[in-house]
Symmetry: D3
Subunit: 131 residues, 6 copies
């Protein structure tokens, strides 16, 4: 295979970001780690169709939070797999999350992220080949 | 049984509202039919804990829409079963809907609403007895 | 079709028993309504293989309760669909229920029982033809 | 609502066909009952995009069977909800059925068909509005 | 993250216990390996609220078995994810297991345990922050 | 444990075959890698009952394709977990795949195959002990 599925990880705590990046990288994903919501939104505007999944923290050092990042991702790519990571905000998933997303509560094991991402991508409808 | 599960139906097209009310009533539910988003929000503020499910249209003749009604319902009652009814807005469910909700696209059969409501209530965690 | 799927309903509150019997009967099931756990156990010993589903109350006027009725049913027929009906005992489902069963909390709408029974039978593996 | 979801029912045993037609009709569906596989295939060639679901018997008085009817339906409409009805052939569902379909084994209760059809349509992705 | 999710593993065959401990440890979990049912029950009495999951063998060298350990765990923590491991007793899962649990039949691959634990924790409702 | 679950992998692109073999091997599976459909069919005729899962490419350098390999596997072992891997043919999964199978679209991450196989085996009914 000449390419790997791309996963956008949005996390501003470096230790968690690197742990997730390592785990997804070993699992076979091509990870793009971004720490700011505005950059994540910018990345999605230009590349939502080539993303295989979005993994996002909720509280970000921005005027935007992870709930908004995920909603914008789904507007651009309606079947985008979404995994949220959060501590205190995990309880808000039922009112603020998007359908068919997974909330992984902190502290978590890296395997929870890998399993959530892999399961959601496996369930997503296949994309038509592009020419 | 001295009472029936209460379902709040928010729909401003009278024919659809009555069809849904009849079907849910025959199915054994106690239906409260409301045509305005602001009234639905008011109802939920005072009674979200006693509601067994919310069934809501998306486009309402208000400054609020069904997406907001459902989010507010979930803030007040995090496990509230939610069913959306919509025609044109059905495609926005993946970005605007709440998790574990069902989008029923118009035109629909009444049984789709009854099945969606019953399935979601059956999956909801039981509520502790109140004294 | 020369026969209907048989559903065993175990309920000692007559009003609820009759409501469930009527709803399942109109839905196309052949209902056997029993009010005592010991009779339900006896019925299952002789007929577990021909039952399509078990619907049982938890608190019964016996030394046995619905949890035991369901466990015995599954010992005799490992894929038997099981629906529990309960008020106060609904919270014990996660520790006392059998896997792949549904807890319907009282008060419920009749459609919840019909939907639960129908969904579980539809998911059950088909049975080989008997000669 | 000016229209109802259309369900194609393929069944050559008149009694079962009429029972299913009645139940789905009362549930709010517009039913097209066909007894021959070749007619079902013809119907789907011209109308697969407007069908909301396919309900098909397996053994038909044709050179084609229900497995082929469903595969052709999915080729024409990849997200078409499919419900099979069968007695002896139910065991072949795991090798001959299409993904995300439901096998309802005969003898069945009419509510099983209504629940299967309604659940599958509720899960199907919404269709874009046509102009 | 200053902590890892804690998984209690109850297994009296040392080779299997260590294999599971290693696999869950590499996956990012903090594993407590216990070989006796009575110790597992004691551990749960004092710590069920801080456990993220229970993985238990069925046959243990005690008067208690894994079915009882899991039921007690669920009484103390109603949403505790439960994974059973068993060879001969796997068939009893449908009558003796708790709802929403997973039976992993021996011999298994370590990834089956990691996937089962991670999937169940990801589905469990988030816990409120403790102060 | 004196043995590992056996997974048959059918893939004629060596690089992908080896990647999948390595990933499943590290996950704890005993992998049999085969590059030709006819050999896979031969292997299944003699060993379908001892296989824990089938992972198959769709396009093979044979007169048979992966769709046929999987159907034959399910005829021999009706609960065999099936994972398909494909690029261009992924869209045909809804018409050509077997029920309860997973389509993993190329390019994929190795963790997608491990998660798919592990999840499907965990859901499969346990097999009775053989003497």
């Amino acid at each position: 295979m000449d390419s790997r599925p791309i996963v956008l990880v949005v996390e501003d705590e470096p230790l968690i970001g690197l742990t997730v990046q390592d785990a997804l990288g070993e699992a076979g994903y091509d990870v793009r780690l971004i720490s700011k919501a505005v950059e994540a939104l910018h990345e999605m505007e230009s590349a939502a169709q080539v993303l295989s999944a979005l993994v996002t923290d909720i509280r970000l050092q921005d005027e935007k939070d992870g709930w908004e990042v995920a909603r914008r991702g789904r507007e651009l790519n309606p079947t985008l797999p979404v995994v949220y990571m959060s501590g205190d905000s995990a309880l808000d998933h039922t009112s603020q999350g998007v359908p068919h997303s997974v909330m992984v509560q902190k502290p978590f094991a890296a395997a929870q992220i890998v399993t959530a991402v892999s399961t959601l991508i496996n369930k997503a409808p296949p994309t038509p080949p592009t020419d």
